[in-house]
Subunit: 263 residues, 2 copies
């Protein structure tokens, strides 16, 4: 096997397409944007698109494809949505039914594909100015928490916002706000700083998803809207069918993170 | 009649609702965001929402209502979409059929309302830093041009981008870019600066809509995506029915322009 973290997005997708890579994509194609995947039958598509429009922080849309279309235009001209993601989760009526390496056999003409921004993009920007990312340092998954902040409902979709937490040194908090504000299409600026109880988080040591990380003296917890929110919301609405990526097993695009910056 | 330009948004909407104001809204409720209106039957709603998602500069969504809903939440809790706009244009199969003062009698349970940002908001921000707005100085309508820049199509909707032009003194062009970049939800930064022929405009003295304005020595034409684009595109697609505001006769919201700034 080639050294995968030296390959281009196109080369990595080729390996994935051939079934030769079905592991997480963190650390691959550094500098390029990765995307969350949600596929829904057309009858749910307006409601979900409206949900994303109303909740741009947890659900930042990078690209939405027309019914039946499995080729992207904006993220790359060389992506097949049915084969280019390492692992797919198949949910029926909100229940995980299977995890597959490709979904060609399941594809239907009325499937609408939604691709959403991923915080990997802004983490790279934070690291570039030497703001530490604790879960990367500790080789863990980012800690995620269910908050008491309700998303704005749309049609059948509703639920609380899920957030990620990164401990930030006090003297770098404003810089972290400033930098992540540039990346509205990958969750953007934090939604909360400091006291977790205000957003309904009882114990930072017990995340609802991912791993607990160390908060050092002189650091404050900073919270960003999380891409798990749309998946949690979709699962709650229990559509007949929903296909997502397996968490951490993202779509790797040809877009540079910098191309997503708004200013 | 009270001096209307001293009234609050709520007071002005009350006059409009009673049929006592059916004129343009430029200059009213200064500091508050005004919105473009597009109402479509539900069968066209996904395509149009997708069109706006793909073309955020000409079609910046402020709020989208669920099918049948005529009360806003984000723009104000005191708006009735059927009565609170001074003049409505009723289009059937792309043809203007009537211009009405209210649409209660036409309202259907499957109508989906789209409210889009308006450049009045960023003009206020430019004026605050003493960047002149020529069409306001000359008491004219902003000049608008059909470009050769194609919008990204979505479903039945397609067409060229329409732009507005404002002559800006050379030494203030970068400041104008910087300031309007803050207002992504009201068309944002310019899409082109200088040579109009590059975007397919043959003669600046002959705008496709609105009025021609003076370009003084030492000024360059600066072009922004225009809210006429979605209406032009909808008319081209010839849906059975589409209701819009009459150009210039906008919805006045309770949101301050500053609340729309992204950074």
């Amino acid at each position: 096997m080639e050294k995968i973290n030296q390959l281009t997005p196109k080369e990595i997708r080729k390996l994935i397409r051939k079934g030769k890579w079905d592991k997480p994509t963190a650390g691959l194609a550094v500098g390029y944007a990765q995307a969350n995947l949600v596929i829904l039958p057309q009858k749910y598509a307006f409601d979900f698109l409206l949900f994303c429009q109303r909740n741009p922080k947890p659900c930042p849309l990078l690209e939405v494809l027309e019914p039946g279309v499995y080729r992207t235009e904006f993220l790359s001209s060389d992506i097949d949505i049915r084969t280019d993601i390492p692992r797919y989760n198949i949910y029926r009526k909100g229940k995980l039914e299977a995890t597959l390496k490709e979904i060609k056999g399941l594809w239907e003409k009325d499937f609408v594909t939604f691709l959403l921004g991923c915080s990997f993009s802004f983490e790279e920007a934070l690291l570039r100015v030497k703001i530490p990312i604790r879960h990367i340092e500790e080789n863990k998954n980012v800690p995620m928490y269910i908050t008491n902040i309700p998303c704005k409902p749309a049609g059948i979709f509703y639920g609380p916002m899920v957030v990620t937490m990164r401990p930030i040194p006090l003297d770098k908090v404003t810089r972290a706000v400033q930098i992540t504000s540039r990346y509205a299409s990958v969750h953007g600026m934090p939604i909360h700083i400091c006291d977790p109880s205000i957003i309904g988080i009882k114990d930072l040591r017990k995340p609802d998803f991912g791993d607990s990380v160390t908060i050092k003296e002189g650091e404050v917890p900073v919270f960003w809207a999380c891409g798990v929110t749309p998946q949690a919301v979709v699962m709650k609405a229990k559509p007949d069918l929903c296909i997502t990526h397996k968490p951490g097993h993202m779509l790797i695009s040809d877009l540079l993170n910098e191309e997503l910056a708004t200013h």
